[in-house]
């Protein structure tokens, strides 16, 4: 069965891009526009892994991260952001990986593969 990945990002262009890249890798992809939608998707779509942007309207990724862990202790979460500074936030340590957004998707793809394998 295909593994399901939830991509959470407020930029539609990026969501589409990640969706395409991950589908090529053989995953099923769910998307959400912000933290609140991500939590809804977590319950409705039962993803196997979450790729989570940080700076988003409605509910940001850092708050969503805490709430996701509160609901599902073990789901792998990759924080995927344009900014490096959030690594100073203790809550970011609750993510399984912290990646800086890049046009090269190999790091993200490797991380996804690695975390799904460990699961």
């Amino acid at each position: 069965m295909k593994k399901k990945i939830l991509v959470v990002d407020d930029e539609e262009g990026l969501r589409l891009l990640y969706e395409e890249v991950l589908k090529e890798e053989g995953y099923e992809v769910l998307t959400a526009r912000n933290g609140r939608e991500a939590i809804q998707q977590l319950e409705a779509g039962k993803p196997d892994l979450i790729i989570l942007d940080i700076v988003m309207p409605v509910m940001d990724g850092m708050e969503a991260l805490g709430r996701i862990v509160g609901k599902d202790r073990k789901i792998p979460i990759i924080l995927n952001t344009s900014y490096g500074g959030y690594q100073q936030d203790f809550m970011s340590w609750a993510a399984d990986a912290y990646l800086t957004k890049s046009a090269d998707f190999s790091e993200l793809k490797n991380k996804v593969r690695e975390l799904l394998r460990q699961r």
Binding site: G70, R73, A94
Partner: protein, 395 residues
Amino acid sequence: MVLAGGRGERLYPLTRDRAKPAVAFGGIYRIIDFTLSNCINSDIRRIYIITQYKSVSLHRHIQLGWNILSSPLGEFIEIIPAQQRIDEHWYQGTADAFFQNIYTLQQERPDLVLILSGDHIYKMDYRKMIAFHLEKKADLTVAAIRMRREESREFGVIEVDRDWRIIGFEEKPEDPKTVPGDPEGILASMGVYVFNIELLVKRLIEDARSDSTHDFGRDIIPSMIEKDQVFAFDFRQGDQGGVGYWRDVGTIDAYFEANMDLVSVTPQLNLYDSQWPILTYQSPNPPAKTVWAEDARVGTALNSIISNGCIISGGSVKRSILSPRVTIHSHAEIEDCILLEGVDVGRYAKIRRTIIDKEAQIPQGMEIGYNLDEDARRFTVTGSGIVVVPKGIRL
């Protein structure tokens, strides 16, 4: 950070309307006053109190009595109620309580976190423990008190090597590891921890992301013994009382005994040490007073602690602790009792070995503590025969 969220179920009915740290002790104190006083006396002036169940009474006490620090100097005693910021559930264990307050740790970002329980009565200089922690370059230091081997089922038992490095930790074991060189002694965890902040956060997160009971004693400490520098601090090195006094007062019997210690001639817990004052909140009451000294009607208090606002009006009080505003009317006899604030004992009432919670009114002529079968129909009676009359009762 003071954990003050425990239900204190074994102290029921004293914890019917309040969390355990807010239970009165020694006449004028609340249990949490001892931990907070230790902080102030140890020059620790940035204090968070984490509350959860039945916290209104505790909040009021802290607001009224502990508004003593200077916020312009960066000092504070701040209460953090359960906010459900991360999880929609209440705290699942002591470690979970900290994980849920990770934002507070983030905001404050100290180098070290001293974790305390608001449930215990003792006098300790935390600075000595912190100095030990730094000297050992420890990641975690756990305060340890010597107990007798038979008591192991009540406590988290620590196993140390000669250097006081912790090499084992068991929660309430039947067959405990004893102190090196003392086969009858064990080291019990006092629920007092010094953590390096970053490691605390890492271990809390690991714990939060695993299936565990999310408890410091059960989960965090055992996991850290394997991978981190974990040391035990001998309470004797920081004991301000000098007699190894530390009480959990987790049960009615333990609570009763710990209070009764205070009316002895030389109590183990010395409340008179001006170098280590125990602070609290006291409402403005006039001094205690005894009245009537006639042949058959004498107001007396012997071997007792009588707080402000009490009037012993022609009754007799022996080996008892009276919180503020207690009134004992003529010919009433009180022996070995703890009467909490505002209790009123009517004429000719006879009461012994009883704890009477706040604002209870005992009618004229009532006997409590003399016929335990009878008492048990109305009140809580412990195995050792202590009767507890709940708050506000009108009989």
